[in-house]
Symmetry: C2
Subunit: 107 residues, 2 copies
């Protein structure tokens, strides 16, 4: 996108939103909100998808910057990327809260 109206913030928000835009990925992020870390294998036991598919979802979350992985052979420990999560929090928070619905109603 190249316009003076669509800003980097819009692009970044869209990138984060897109990453959360699949039930499996939403589930993973929610799981990481209740426990500090997780492993691909544990997720695979809960989810009705192939391990290779799960791996791709993790890859996408990582590409969007929402998670990061550290190798602990033979496993890989995934956890939230703090810095980017704060950014997502700010961007979503701004959008969601700024709308004062009491004053924002089409009659």
């Amino acid at each position: 996108m190249n316009t003076k109206f669509i800003t980097n913030d819009h692009e970044q928000l869209a990138r984060f939103a897109k990453a959360l835009g699949h039930p499996v990925r939403a589930y993973i992020m929610e799981l990481l909100s209740t426990q500090t870390c997780c492993f691909s294998g544990d997720l695979a036991e809960d989810l009705p998808i192939a391990r290779s598919t799960l791996s791709q979802h993790l890859k996408e979350l990582k590409a969007a910057g929402l998670i990061q992985g550290t190798i602990e052979y033979p496993k890989i420990r995934y956890c939230i990327n703090r810095e980017n999560w704060e950014r997502a929090k700010t961007l979503f928070g701004h959008l969601l809260q700024s709308i004062d619905l009491t004053n924002n109603q089409c009659k």
Copy 2:
């Protein structure tokens, strides 16, 4: 998705997130956070995309329940869908805030 782990909330969050997962749609929602309503034609003048493409983005936001349109010939007035926006606020808010990053760090 059909698993006891992925809930309706995950599905709904993903649906909202997916709708926000494009710069143009993120822009539109942000615009609707600063002004009560907008018209497709006004958006079209700001955005570097075809009107038919813009129309599809509006259609998707509508399908996700984030906006609604009321006809005012020859225009259509778009505004936020209050009820669903509250739901989105709750779902995103829950996910984003629940993560206490001070206690959620992989060493």
